[in-house]
Symmetry: C2
Subunit: 375 residues, 2 copies
DNA sequence: CCGCAAAATGTAACCGTTTACATTCGAGGG
DNA sequence: CCCTCGAATGTAAACGGTTACATTTTGCGG
């Protein structure tokens, strides 16, 4: 009955409604498997009538190609891997979202693996993804250079996200530029004594933001003052703690710049608890524009990072690398940030020994609407 | 030299450092592929010495098995799919996180696909995952029953997450019980005029929470008052708008119960903007205990849902279904919620026509620490 | 020293596709 | 009428593993 010779000497009993294979479709349509394959992939010449038959047979059998077989044959999985340090919080979910959207549009699937605190565990995961994916987007902001290079040796296209910039493909946020833009904004409002809450020591984003802050401070204060910098680790808790220290500094700073929004939220909560009025007595700004930033009280002024866009870029770059592994020239793209002015910072009160007048531009710029200016 | 007869008549030029195959390992170790397979899978008897040789060969060749071939052969992919409506926000990332952790521990990978607003698109995605995954966790809170049943017909283990409960495997939050527990808390504090901000009409979670609220209100107020219910859609914006309406109700409610935390955050922001003091003039509570809840001002009293646990349970159930597809009895598990008391609600002011005394228990319970009581 | 069971290993079929190459079939030109 | 050529289709060899079954070793009692 079937035109396919049953090669199996002793067919295993399939326990359940087995999925139809290409052979079943071929038999039903009265053609060879090659023809079925050609019809379904639509690349080669097939007579219109034959094509219809095949399509009908496939539909009636609810045929879905077996991807494992297919990818074994064509050596492609149409899947990319995403390796994250830890899928906590809104930042990571936005990254995934951005990549997912871009990938699906191109017919790609995404394999996600999060929660990799240490590099060895990460490399491990990368190995188990071997063969399962055509390329990787790896986010490892806390990892030092060496393991990342080893990762490249795995001979698979890899795009690094927000990691210490190595040679090879990478996408990063313009942290340095963003931090400077934020400092410019504060300075224009008249602030000169600006405290900074740092991020984790080994985090690439955190370092760049700190660098931007320091550079800007050199242009603002004659003598750099290390006392204005507090340590933090990107968590609300650490922001909370840092704010207490800031509030007790001798000449009290008029503004606090937290290296990310989570810490800024902590700072805000801490100051409120301590009875320090924001923005009247102290201005607070953050970085990232996570969704909550808009809903804390007062609403937080921050640098927006279009995280989904970050993911989208990463996928685009990866796709390019997968497309022509040979001719692909490694790129390092930087995505810009946007200043979003809300209510959490104002003009500092006049104080002795300070410039008596706030900077000229201050007044006019105070209430830039959402998505204000590009840094 | 190699013991493997080169069956390929005309080996394709491999463009790049091709990955070693099991044949290469076998050749290098001087054994057959079967032996290599046995060593690497560790199931069958192999002489210790042989085993060492094979392992050494594998390591020196940096051999990693090709998963496509493997899953073609054993008809398993060691991968599960996660289908989400939209990977926005902390809720979804926590779900992914929970599943990821559980899955990795069992050697499974996860294939994620988010952003499916409509059912047809979702079914589509499910089809493309066919063969790529051993089972699915599907989250479709807004979807009506019919498509979900069709999904089951796809003949693959499926666990539904927070969806309108059908027959088959499912995990849901105890929304009804949680809502009632929250109402009990408010009532014990002395509140009787309690407004409710509803979630999306077709959302299963939202409906259950509303049901819990209504049930509780029947026990509190003699005449049910629909005017106390405001519509909302789980977004901060809708909470913001709803709060304005609540504040203008004739006998003003003394408490607002928002069907989720995002809306509660909106409510808080709105009341603050309108000059209504929380909790002195009005108490506000939410549901979910998203991370921000702790950092808004005042900190939000809410029902905690252990979202990662939800994901973990879902994976466990799915694994069971994958394990014995035949003997598996469909289950419907419900995960409990926990009351977390913070600062956003207090004892209502005495008012005419009200019970003059707050409920007995109120005082003593006011400041239960984090992770207070199980509902 | 033989025989035999158990242990270790090898052989090759099979999983379901894709695709290079072979084959068939018609049509058109000489 | 034969030959050639191109279009349509078929055949079967990969792809890289797993595993049932066959074969070879090994250990040991008689």
């Amino acid at each position: 009955m079937t035109s396919r010779p049953d090669v199996r000497s002793n067919p295993r009993p399939r326990n359940r409604a087995a999925a139809a294979t290409i052979h079943d479709v071929a038999a039903r349509a009265g053609v060879s498997v090659a023809t079925v394959s050609r019809v379904l992939n639509g690349k080669e010449l097939v007579r219109e009538e034959t094509s219809r038959h095949v399509r009908a047979a496939a539909k009636s059998l609810r045929y879905v190609p077996n991807v494992a077989a297919r990818s074994l044959s064509i050596r492609r999985s149409q899947t990319i891997g995403i390796v994250l340090p830890d899928v906590h919080g809104e930042f990571f979910s936005e990254v995934i979202r951005g990549i997912d959207l871009a990938a699906r549009a191109k017919g790609y699937h995404i394999l996600v693996s999060g929660s990799h605190s240490d590099p060895s565990q990460m490399l491990n995961v990368v190995d188990t993804m071997r063969g399962r994916v055509d390329g990787l987007v790896v986010m490892a902001p806390d990892v030092t250079l060496a393991p990342l290079d080893e990762l490249r040796a795995r001979a698979m296209p890899v795009v690094l996200l927000n990691s210490a910039t190595p040679n090879g493909d990478a996408i990063t946020i313009d942290n340095y530029g963003g931090a400077r833009a934020m400092m410019r904004h504060l300075h224009e409002l008249g602030h000169t004594r600006i405290a900074f809450v740092r991020g984790p020591q080994h985090n690439a984003d955190a370092r760049e933001r700190l660098r931007g802050y320091r550079h800007a401070m050199r242009g603002i204060a004659a003598v750099p003052n290390k006392a204005l910098e507090c340590s933090g680790d990107f968590t609300e808790e650490s922001g909370f703690a840092a704010a207490r220290r800031v509030a007790e500094l001798k000449p009290r700073p008029t503004a606090v710049f937290a290296a990310n929004d989570s810490m800024a939220v902590g700072v805000l909560a801490s100051l409120t608890a301590a009875g320090v009025k924001v923005p009247e007595e102290m201005s607070v700004v953050g970085f990232d524009d996570i969704p909550i930033a808009r809903y804390v009280n007062p609403a937080l002024t921050t640098m927006r990072v279009d995280i989904a866009e970050l993911g989208r870029c990463a996928f685009g770059l990866l796709l390019d690398a997968i497309g022509n592994p040979a001719a692909h020239a490694p790129r390092h793209d930087r995505v810009a940030t946007t200043l979003v002015v809300r209510k959490s910072c104002g003009v500092p009160k006049l104080q002795p020994k300070q410039n008596a007048q706030p900077h000229r531009a201050a007044r006019g710029r105070k209430r830039v609407p959402e998505k204000g200016e590009v840094s």
